[in-house]
């Protein structure tokens, strides 16, 4: 027999906590006001870092707005572009699905800074550089593949037969979509949207190369890591928030299944 010891259980929880606790403490670190070495605990907590982040005139606030706007726009457009492709893939109607998957996913593995730099060359010529539109296009290379693959996992024989039944009962295209298709694939749709948002939200290399003049959250965050750690922690907490939200949604869905 293989024995599962109590030690192993404690070990598993210890590793899980060690992995996750630093991210939780990040929020705490953003309230540190004064922390002179070698004190173990900060001497004073306060809102200094947050007042810098939320103040008008710093790059942080526009960065937050720009990152959210670009992530929302990229994800929304990606969902529309992905829908027919995800459907064809999910219903296994393609003769060579591997080819489509390879074409879609290959770019994801190529460094974003490389893709961004190559795209910037075109955007400069087209007068698009330093615009939110350029950022959306560049992020699309990384967002669209995830959205297609996650959305495809929702489609299949079951959804198809539900739709056929609705059609037989006289539901038009719009009704069918609203009352049958979307509710049927809702979990995959939610995951695809969340993942798309997260991928765009986390883009550094493409944002730096394509949108040099536009404040984006990760680009604004980097210099603060050395210059002002509490501000980095505050920006980092905001940067982390969507991932935590995604994790909660994913684990709730998991429990429902």
């Amino acid at each position: 027999m293989i024995r599962r010891t109590r030690l192993a259980r404690i070990g598993a929880w210890a590793v899980a906590l060690a992995v996750s606790v630093p991210f939780v403490i990040l929020l705490l670190q953003s309230f540190v006001e004064s922390w002179r070495a070698p004190a173990v605990l900060p001497q004073r907590f306060g809102l200094r870092a947050w007042s810098i982040v939320l103040a008008e005139g710093t790059a942080a606030r526009p960065a937050l707005v720009n990152s959210a706007l670009v992530a929302l726009a990229t994800t929304t457009i990606a969902l529309f572009l992905a829908w027919p492709a995800a459907r064809a893939l999910g219903e296994s109607r393609l003769r060579r699905p591997t080819l489509v998957v390879v074409v879609m996913t290959l770019p994801v593995l190529v460094p974003p800074y490389a893709v961004g730099t190559g795209l910037a060359e075109w955007f400069i010529r087209l007068g698009l550089v330093d615009s939110l539109f350029a950022l959306i296009l560049a992020h699309m290379v990384y967002v669209l593949p995830y959205v297609v693959l996650l959305l495809a996992s929702g489609f299949g024989r079951e959804v198809e037969s539900l739709e056929e039944a609705a059609c037989a009962m006289g539901a038009g295209t719009v009704h069918r979509l609203r009352l049958v298709t979307i509710p049927a694939i809702a979990p995959s749709l939610a995951l695809a949207a969340l993942m798309g948002f997260l991928v765009s939200w986390g883009q550094y290399g493409t944002s730096l190369s394509v949108g040099g003049g536009i404040a984006m959250l990760p680009v604004v965050l980097v210099p603060f890591v050395q210059a002002d750690p509490p501000v980095a922690a505050a920006l980092g907490s905001l940067f982390l928030a969507p991932a935590v939200f995604a994790l909660i949604v994913a684990s709730r869905q998991d429990r429902m299944n």
Binding site: A37, P84, Y204
Partner: protein
């Protein structure tokens, strides 16, 4: 119900990707062929390629990037196998805690690492000054730590997904026949996890090879990873900076594309 043919349905998504990605590669190649300071505008030249291939900083960077790629991937794989063994069959809440780094951006993991083990970080204060330097060290240990923290949980979840109760039953059977833990790992568990693990590891390797924001935050000033070297080249005032930057980035793109094609061949072989 009318149906759009499948080949037409995939066109919008595929065309966008092919146009943007293909365009990016063409753009980078064109930039890399721009002549250096001695050449005439509009001329095609290999000056930038010659310059990077003879630059010792480029060769150091290539070696350094390959080293952190291989080391981070190998360590993540080993850690993942161990962790999968530890968490399989346990509660979902544990998996969720454990999976926290998976959706978190790489940059954020790097920020957390600096706040904990960087100079005047949490660990420094708890333990006194650390006897070794992990942040901005020449061996790239800080970069490797970030990638292991982020990617080992990802690989673990990939493995745990294929280790269902039936594998446990086989292990039990092997154990009653006298197989030790290592033998069970080799003959029962490994055949199950080999495919997802190697698939995941190639993805991890491609990510590490292109690492950019992580070394910017925790990497040494020398040697740099290829992407950071490209950033430096693009930011110099030298005339051929952009061309050299594009050449370096094309090298990273080529390596990751080869990685990806290996992945495809593997997947084909498994089909």
């Amino acid at each position: 119900m009318r149906r759009v043919p499948a080949a037409v349905a995939v066109l919008p998504a595929c065309m966008i990707i092919v146009a943007l990605f293909g365009g990016a590669l063409v753009g980078a190649v064109r930039t890399s062929l721009e002549p250096g300071p001695a050449g005439l505008a509009g001329e095609v030249s290999l000056d930038a390629w010659r310059a990077i291939l003879t630059d010792p900083a480029f060769l150091d960077s290539l070696l350094f990037t390959s080293w952190i790629t291989l080391a981070s991937t190998a360590i993540s794989m080993i850690v993942a196998v161990g962790l999968a063994h530890l968490i399989r069959g346990r509660r979902r809440a544990l998996w969720a805690l454990f999976g926290l780094p998976v959706p978190v951006p790489h940059l954020l993991v790097a920020v957390v690492v600096v706040l904990w083990i960087g100079p005047a970080g949490v660990v420094d204060r708890l333990a006194g000054a650390l006897p070794f330097e992990l942040i901005r060290d020449r061996a790239g240990l800080g970069i490797m730590l970030v990638y292991v923290l982020k990617e080992a949980p990802f690989l673990t979840l990939l493995i745990v997904a294929v280790l269902g109760p039936e594998v446990r039953a086989r292990e039990e059977a092997a154990a009653t026949m006298g197989a030790g833990p290592l033998q069970r790992l080799r003959w029962v568990v490994w055949p199950r996890i080999a495919a997802p693990l190697s698939f995941g590891s190639l993805i991890v390797a491609a990510f590490v090879f292109g690492s950019f924001e992580v070394p910017l935050v925790v990497g040494p000033t020398y040697p740099k990873t290829l992407a950071v070297l490209a950033l430096d080249a693009a930011r110099t005032s030298e005339l051929d900076g952009q061309a050299r930057s594009a050449s370096i980035l094309l090298v990273t793109a080529a390596v990751t594309i080869v990685c990806a094609l290996l992945l495809v061949r593997r997947a084909r072989a498994d089909e």
